[in-house]
């Protein structure tokens, strides 16, 4: 890595590390949600940004992860941290299985199939034969974990650090995956899949695997989200969640890892800002923000930053 991004990263990490001690619990809670969403968006970005498979239903994987955690914690008393790998594994499998028939679908058709998944999952969660597990329409309430080893933190702060640790781990995995051969193959499939196959890339395998891994990331985010909110119900995971995830990666920047963070900041805070600006039609204000961002930064915030940085580099005399 070049030197300046490394410095920026270290500074950001340091800031993130001390933030909970200077902010109110409410803000710490909000930042925890931002981190949860950034993991979810990273998952979606892998599939849509890096691999070109559009998904309008990623909220479904978020929901599956959340319910895994809730069911394990509530019915079986599994400790919260142990539910994350299970949620991840379940979503990896479901995502992969969904990705297999989806291989035949491109563009619009895949969009419809994923849209269908996102729309029908709440109905499945309410299905009365599954009620015993899912709590049906009433949902499941879970408790927030206490800090371990008697650390002098309160619950919100502990959850923040726990989420931060998971986020760093997931981002590191993604970064490693995407800059290596796998990432190259994914992008090749996105840009020119016929040429990629001609070069020996097993398109079918990579596409399904990407679906699985992407679902895994978003599922783990869902699990963390469930712990933070302490409640899961079918109403929490409607189609609008999937749509807002898509909005998040586009605003943040497609095919960009930091883009996931920018996108998460946008989807967490801009609706609140819109609500403060106008009580009468807050979503209209949100829509205007969306249009404004897309006009000003068609490649997302990450894209705009990249372009601005490149322009500045060009101004510097070459060594």
């Amino acid at each position: 890595m070049r030197k300046s991004p490394l410095i920026a990263l270290v500074v950001a990490l340091a800031a993130a590390g001390v933030a909970p001690f200077f902010l109110t619990n409410y803000h710490v809670f909000q930042l925890t949600l931002v981190m949860v969403y950034s993991i979810a968006l990273l998952g979606l970005n892998m599939l849509t940004g890096y691999n070109g498979q559009i998904s309008l239903g990623h909220g479904a994987f978020y929901a599956i992860g959340a319910y895994c955690t809730a069911i394990l914690m509530d019915h079986y008393g599994v400790p919260y941290w142990a539910t994350l790998p299970v949620a991840g594994a379940v979503c990896l499998l479901v995502g992969f299985l969904f990705g297999l028939p989806a291989l035949r679908l491109e563009g619009l058709y895949l969009a419809l199939a994923t849209f269908a998944l996102g729309v029908s999952l709440p109905q499945l969660l309410k299905y009365h034969h599954l009620e015993e597990w899912t709590g049906g329409v009433q949902g499941i309430t879970i408790s927030k974990p206490d800090p371990p080893f008697g650390l002098p933190l309160d619950q919100d702060q502990w959850l923040y650090f726990f989420t931060l640790a998971v986020m760093l781990l997931m981002f590191a995995i993604a970064w490693n995956l995407l800059r290596g051969r796998v990432g190259l193959a994914m992008r090749a499939i996105r840009d020119q899949h016929v040429a990629a196959e001609a070069m020996g890339v097993n398109s079918a395998l990579y596409k399904s695997l990407t679906f699985g891994v992407s679902a895994m990331f978003t599922g783990i985010a869902g699990a963390l989200g469930a712990i933070a909110i302490q409640f899961v119900a079918p109403d929490s995971f409607d189609i609008f969640l999937s749509i807002i995830f898509l909005v998040g990666i586009v605003i943040g920047g497609l095919a960009s890892i930091p883009g996931a963070i920018y996108g998460a900041l946008f989807i967490q805070f801009v609706p609140n800002i819109a609500d403060e600006i106008s009580k009468a039609a807050p979503w209209a204000i949100f829509g205007l923000f969306l249009i404004g961002f897309v006009y000003a930064m068609p490649m997302g915030v990450a894209g705009a930053i990249r372009m601005a940085a490149a322009r500045l580099q060009r101004r510097k005399p070459s060594p």
């Binding site: 269908a116 029908s120 109905q123 586009v250 497609l254 897309v294 068609p298």
Partner: protein, 289 residues
């Protein structure tokens, strides 16, 4: 048997609703190669305009015609002012603009008109009903959808303007070389789609009652219907709409129960697409490498 017939006819009635919005989706796709997620909201908003006109005393058909014209202008304006700036952006950025339009239009309409349901009159006489299976309005609405379909077909097949629009969507560069004003073709396409959407809204409102979220549930089914019938085939879209409507009803009543019919209907549709990726009547696109 009687119950089954009732379900099928009720399915055709609901299917008619999906078909009319699906037509608008196909229209916008044929003109721009984009699927406009705000199509339903635009149609809903124009229906409110019609409602205001009728409430102010205008006779039904006058309000109908005026609304369609207003919708056309509305569509053209949206294309010129909102969509133009992002024409060359990545496709997902355009999708986000559609989503933004959807929330803006729904939110502002809700603010102006409130969210309480409103009745919308039906112009169809009582005699044309199908007894207890289908109300006069439902029969009339299907008729209107078929008329719109016919007009669309004639427009695209037999008029030079229709040909120019299809050309502009399929091959903008070559069209420009031949002298077609591609930008205006896109605007025209948006205008027509908005007009069709407003007709859809006016036909749907009497059955489901008018409220800002009226089209939200319909949009998914219309989208599915358009794809199942072939996204570039208006007749296919209408067929798809009826198919989806009947399928949903029959599944819910006889196969899987109401609690899962949404999921199962969608699974079946996706299944069809996996087997026939271009839908029933769509053109299969062969790309040369």
């Amino acid at each position: 048997m009687d119950a089954f017939l009732h379900q099928v006819l009720a399915g055709l009635a609901t299917g008619g609703i999906y078909a009319s919005l699906a037509l608008a989706l196909v229209m916008i796709y044929q003109a721009t190669h984009h699927v406009n997620f705000a199509q339903g909201a635009m149609g809903m908003c124009c229906t409110y305009v019609a409602w205001s006109l009728i409430n102010a005393g205008m006779p039904y058909w006058a309000a109908f015609v005026l609304t369609v014209l207003i919708a056309f202008v509305f569509g053209v304006l949206i294309e010129r002012l909102v969509i133009r700036p992002v024409e060359n952006s990545p496709i997902l950025a355009v999708v986000v603009v559609f989503i933004a339009l959807l929330v803006i239009i729904t939110s502002i309409t809700g603010w102006i008109y409130s969210y309480t349901i409103k009745t919308f009159p039906s112009p169809f006489p009582d005699q044309i009903g199908l007894g207890r299976y289908m109300s006069p309005h439902q029969v009339g609405a299907i008729g209107v959808t078929l008329v719109v379909l016919l007009l669309l077909y004639l427009f695209f097949r037999f008029t030079p303007l229709g040909l120019a629009m299809r050309a502009a969507a399929q091959n903008p560069e070559s069209s420009r070389l031949v002298g077609i004003r591609v930008g205006w073709m896109l605007a025209l396409g948006w205008g027509l789609a908005a007009a069709i959407g407003s007709v859809a809204g006016i036909m749907i409102a009497p059955s489901v009652y008018l409220d800002p979220n009226m089209m939200a549930g319909v949009l998914l089914y219309a989208f599915a219907a358009a794809l199942v019938g072939g996204i570039d085939n208006p007749a296919g879209a209408v067929f798809g709409g009826f198919l989806v409507g009947v399928l949903e009803n029959v599944l819910g009543a006889y196969v899987i129960g109401n609690e899962l019919k949404l999921a199962v209907a969608l699974v079946l549709i996706v299944g069809v697409l996996v087997v026939r990726p271009s839908g029933f009547f769509g053109k299969v696109h062969v790309t040369r490498v």
